[in-house]
Amino acid sequence: MSNLSLSTLYNQTSLRFIRTFIIWLPGAVVALLWLFPLYWMLNTSVKPDRLIMAGVDLIPTEITWEHYRTVVADTPVIRWFVNSIVTSVCVVAGSLVLGSLTGFALARMHFPGRSVIFWLLISSLMIPPEMSIVPLFIGVLRLEVQDSFISLIIPPLASVFPVYLYRQFFLSFPRELEDAAAIDGCSRIGTFMRVALPLARPATLAGAILIFTSNWNSFLWPLLVAFKTEWKTLPVGMAFYTRLDIQGTSTQSGYGEAMAAVAIVALPTLIFFLILQRYFIEGVTQVGIKG
């Protein structure tokens, strides 16, 4: 009798375990599939050509930095890297200043036109950036600012995202803190600088990370305004390595270098993401759900 119930219990536990496992397994398999292309990039980038052509080998038996050296020798990668870093850092700094000021006013200050301005900003999100690309391009040519940081940095500053991010954050900000600051004799700008901004650290971090990544990865605009090789950003410059094998004529020998080249583009944001992923996810969540 007791034996029987024990075996039923055993069966129930193992059944539950199997059910859990059956639900768990597909997620794990898909996760591996999703990571695999990135792993394959790194894998190919450190294998000698001989092994790349020999076919699939999941763990490289021989490691070489040859491809990375070739990429550095063949392309002005350092210059492109500097262009990308300077552009992204300036856009992050500028966007955070503009976004926090505007977001604060839209969330915490009382003035005629507030809701109209907010509505205007939000509805501009419905308009694809391609609409303004031709006029901006003409403007860049007329002002002769192609091949310069001006054309790389200024247009991305018009992004509504940081404004929205800060507005959402400041809306949840308790009224009492502002009142306390006012009693202590803080002006509006004082409240903003000494109370609101320090408290908005999570929004600032999430914003910085997301703005940095999206500018680092930006493609169409930098492609248009860089006429000279030395003004390309990293992703635009490395597009050189697509001129490989799309016609089906086999020249696999270039793939080691191509993978090293894109690894140089990918690693900064990937490492950044792995360290700070909590803020990435918080940033996306803020924008998504509070909207």
Binding site: W24, M41, M126, E130, F219, I246, A266
Partner: protein, 309 residues
């Protein structure tokens, strides 16, 4: 003395200004200073270019020489151009794969992560990781995976007896291949939005339904999905917009080929505007792109409204 009196003067313009009320509260005039820097950039970079772009689309506008007013010629040409049905068709085909594909996969991933099982954290990281790399990275990695002779995909398929395919070089597969790459990169972002939506749903609601005798499946259809509608609506709208704007992967992976079979609206705009420098025509195409996106997002909003009624 006078100085002090000035300050206290009840009729100074500054103090009069500070007493102006709007909807029962004092107006915070400083707000306009807070907004000014961004407003200037927004007007110059976003607002004016939109109207200027509409103006350009009525002109023949090259990179040199003076623009010439041509009225509706650019739009008339667009109606007769053989490429227009082709690039719009290709883009629709990609959107038809990418939008449902991304939303469905992102939803499954979000539901899976939301169960908080073993290794949930690292697996969520894996799903999101492709979203943080540049399109150049994505495109070149997948060119290599799709490579005909020694690419991973063909080697794997060959291993199970399927003949090698030219994934990016034949009209049969090119749209599917580019859509797959697009989905791979996009799902992580949408998964996070849906996950946040799921977290807002109180767990007790599902439990209560199950206790009331509903199966897990019924609980999902009757409770989880309806409560997730706002997040799903946002994800679908964002995905429609980005699917109609597919450019980088096409530009980098196929250049629109083979024979224009993967050319999209934006890659055609790029080609007309920035390779052939027909800026007026490109501006007209951009306007048509905007109207297409507008139509589909409105349609989406309408469908959801009818569905929830």
């Amino acid at each position: 003395m006078t100085h002090l009196a000035d300050r206290a003067a009840p009729d100074g313009w500054l103090s009069r200004l500070s007493r102006i009320r709007y909807r029962g509260r004092r107006v915070d005039w400083q707000a306009y200073l807070f907004i000014l820097p961004f407003a200037l950039i927004f007007i110059v970079i976003t607002l004016l270019p939109i109207f200027f772009g509409i103006y350009i689309s009525f002109n023949e506008w090259g990179i040199v020489g003076d623009p010439e007013w041509v009225g509706l010629d650019n739009f008339r040409e667009a109606m007769q151009d053989d490429w227009i049905p082709k690039v719009w068709g290709n883009t629709f085909q990609m959107a038809a794969l990418v939008v449902p594909g991304t939303v469905l996969v992102a939803l499954l991933m979000a539901l899976w992560i939301n169960r908080e099982q073993w290794l949930s954290g690292p697996i969520r990281t894996a799903f999101f990781a492709p979203h943080v790399v540049a399109i150049t990275v994505t495109a070149i990695i997948w060119i290599w995976i799709f490579e005909k002779e020694t690419g991973l995909l063909n080697l794997a398929l060959y291993g199970i007896g399927i003949p090698k395919q030219g994934w990016l070089t034949t009209s049969k597969w090119v749209i599917q291949s580019i859509s797959l790459v697009t989905i791979w990169q996009a799902v992580g972002f949408h998964m996070v939005i849906l996950l946040a939506g799921l977290k807002e749903i109180p767990a007790e609601m599902g439990e209560a339904a199950v206790i009331d005798g509903a199966s897990a499946w019924q609980a999902f259809w009757r409770i989880t999905l309806p409560l997730l509608t706002p997040a799903l609506g946002l994800v679908i709208t964002l995905e429609i917009i980005s699917a109609f704007r597919i450019f980088g992967q096409v530009y980098l992976m196929t250049g629109g080929g083979p024979g224009g079979h993967s050319a999209t609206i934006v890659s055609y705009i790029y080609h007309e505007g920035f390779v052939r420098f027909r800026l007026g025509f490109a501006a007209a195409l951009s306007l048509l792109l905007f109207l297409t996106i507008l139509l589909f997002t409105l349609l989406r909003a309408r469908l959801v409204r009818e569905h929830s009624n």
